[in-house]
């Protein structure tokens, strides 16, 4: 198995410093490269290397956010460090809880999840969002790839690489333009880069869209399954609202809450995390 070339060598070097043994590559995203590592005691962890142009400020923010979280639905952060490359660049890395069982994205390769599984994920991640909201944090990138499933099926939110601490008034240049959220699951306020409107309810939208796609195989704003993504995203940008197809499918599945979670304006969604948790219960 490939361990990611240059990053493998760096991961090896970090493991030597931190006292871990490099086990295998987990995956590579736009901003991070992840590896499974083994502690001297035999426990498995996840080493994440920041890639390329990720700024120091942004990674500090991410790291501090995760450190402040203590919830079974949020991957725990163990350590943070910087690695000096030969070029002189500083590469940030973190070691966090390794969640066995694969991502929701992996699970979806074998077909959609059931309504019961959707409810399990909805309940657990609503509580996770309650935790992040209480810390004034927004994940901003909730999607199947960022939801790991423990071996018992319990979902864990990972990769806070896009978390923004709302108390921090500084906004780094990476937030400009289209915004950092993954467009397919992003809320209208993210796609329209309306930064004052982005709060935990953007995550509520992302979770609703993720569950709708995972169980109904339907984006909330799609008129039908499999519709051309750019047209669907444009409807999100234009705040057209959830489609009648979603309303029907969600009702049939007993998941009507998805309609409210994916309303175009934050005020139209569930206003407080408590209401979201209650809605899933």
């Amino acid at each position: 198995m490939s361990l990611g070339g240059d990053h493998q060598n760096i991961a090896d070097a970090i493991c030597a410093i931190e006292g871990y043994k490099l086990a295998e590559e987990i995956g590579e995203g736009s901003f991070k490269h992840s590896f499974k590592v083994i502690s001297p005691g035999g426990d498995e962890y996840c080493l994440k290397l920041s890639k390329g142009n990720l700024s120091q400020a942004r990674s500090d923010r991410e790291i501090e956010a995760i450190r402040r979280c203590d919830h079974p639905g949020i991957a725990k952060l163990l350590s943070v460090g910087q690695f000096a490359r030969a070029s002189g660049d500083q590469l940030l890395y973190s070691v966090e809880e390794f969640v066995a069982g694969g991502s929701l994205e992996d699970h979806l390769k074998s077909g959609p999840i059931s309504s019961d599984e959707a409810r399990t994920i909805g309940r657990a991640l609503a509580e996770a969002l309650s935790e992040t909201a209480s810390l004034n944090l927004v994940h901003r990138d909730i999607k199947p790839a960022n939801i790991m499933l423990r071996e018992d099926g319990f979902p864990v939110l990972v990769d806070f690489g896009l978390v923004r601490v709302l108390d921090d008034s500084s906004v780094t240049p990476t937030w400009l333009g289209q915004g950092p959220g993954t467009p397919w699951f992003a809320a209208p306020e993210q796609l329209n880069n309306e930064k004052e409107l982005i709060d935990w309810r953007a995550d509520q939208f992302g979770l609703g869209a993720t569950i709708a796609m995972s169980t109904l195989q339907l984006h909330p704003y799609a008129m039908a399954a499999g519709e051309n993504p750019p047209a669907v995203i444009q409807r999100v940008v234009d705040r057209i609202g959830p489609s009648s197809a979603l309303e029907q499918e969600a009702k049939s599945a007993g998941l009507e809450i998805l309609v409210q979670m994916t309303q175009p304006w934050p005020v139209q969604r569930l206003r407080t995390p408590d209401l979201l948790v209650a809605g899933w219960n």
Partner: protein, 375 residues
Amino acid sequence: MPAYHQMGHHSQNLLGEADLSSFAGALVSPVNYVVDEVAELVEAHQSGTFDFVLDPQLYFPTSERGHLHEWSYFPSDLDSADLSSETWWSGLIADLVAVGTELGCRAIASPAIVPRRYDNGYFAHSTRVAHSLVEQAPGFRTLQTVLVSLDELSQPSRAYAIASLVSQTKCDGIYLILVSETEPRRELSDEEGLKGAMLLIAALEAASLEVLVGYSSSELVLWKAAGATSCATGKFFNLRRFTRSRFEEPSGGGGQLPYWVEESLLSFLRESDLLRVQQAGLLSEVDDRNPYCEQIFEQIADGEPWLALAWRQYMWWFADIESRLAAGSLEVRTLLQQAERNWIQLEDQDILMEERRNDGTWLRSWRRALAEYRS
């Protein structure tokens, strides 16, 4: 919830009137009263069914401030302070809460100023200021003051954006103040602005945030149609709205003409016009229940002034119609439709108001705003 009394210049004597006892509470006015006067009012009138809300009234930093500068929370550096500084607001709120505690008020509204631009940053900042109030005022019911112009709300979708921003609040409710440039004795008539205000109220109420619309007048029928929990008015709001000029001109009653509020026309009538409408048989049945109506006619018959009674007649009507609308015994669409018909009947009979611009034309704007809001 019943109506609130928006206190103003010399309105304390209305608090104890038995026939005006249906108000749920009063919004105190530091511009018009000193702290000792308010303390006495709270002591005398606050009860299990009547609350006092402390509104700091810092809306216009450079305007006439009346007694405001005598209140300990009033910042000496208001004209020069960095109003974007949350630290500065936090200090002001600490002083405000201390005053609220001293007075014994049960509720406090967050301090807010009328901005030059109602952009997203303004509402986000107002919400953070209100959050500071929540943190510093445990034990108080807290209201987030939301100042917004009708002109701003006339922009498509703006109501939803503003509602999204202020619904981040941790306050118990919203104290909504609609800012306009409406001249005295003119009704609000910007259809798009009225519709936007209704959408804002409805969106906040749907999000389980109770909205108290301050500085209301007869247009409360629209706010109630949108689901506003409460509306507030004061004795001068038969004539004026929330405008900058209200805080820049003398607010005394000297030289003021008495007006009769007439539900059948949703209008305010001067004495001569009242008598014309009476002769046409168009006075509302509600007037028979309003204890001040008969007294007014007696005063008129005796050639005596009736300004003080006019204020009371209006306040009684406001609380009464709020109650009927809240109970669902009165339907706003029908009310507006009938009022417009009554104006047409007056026109057909050549019964023309002495006050030329008192012609009911705003009712068409209100009906259109209501129809578009409901669509």
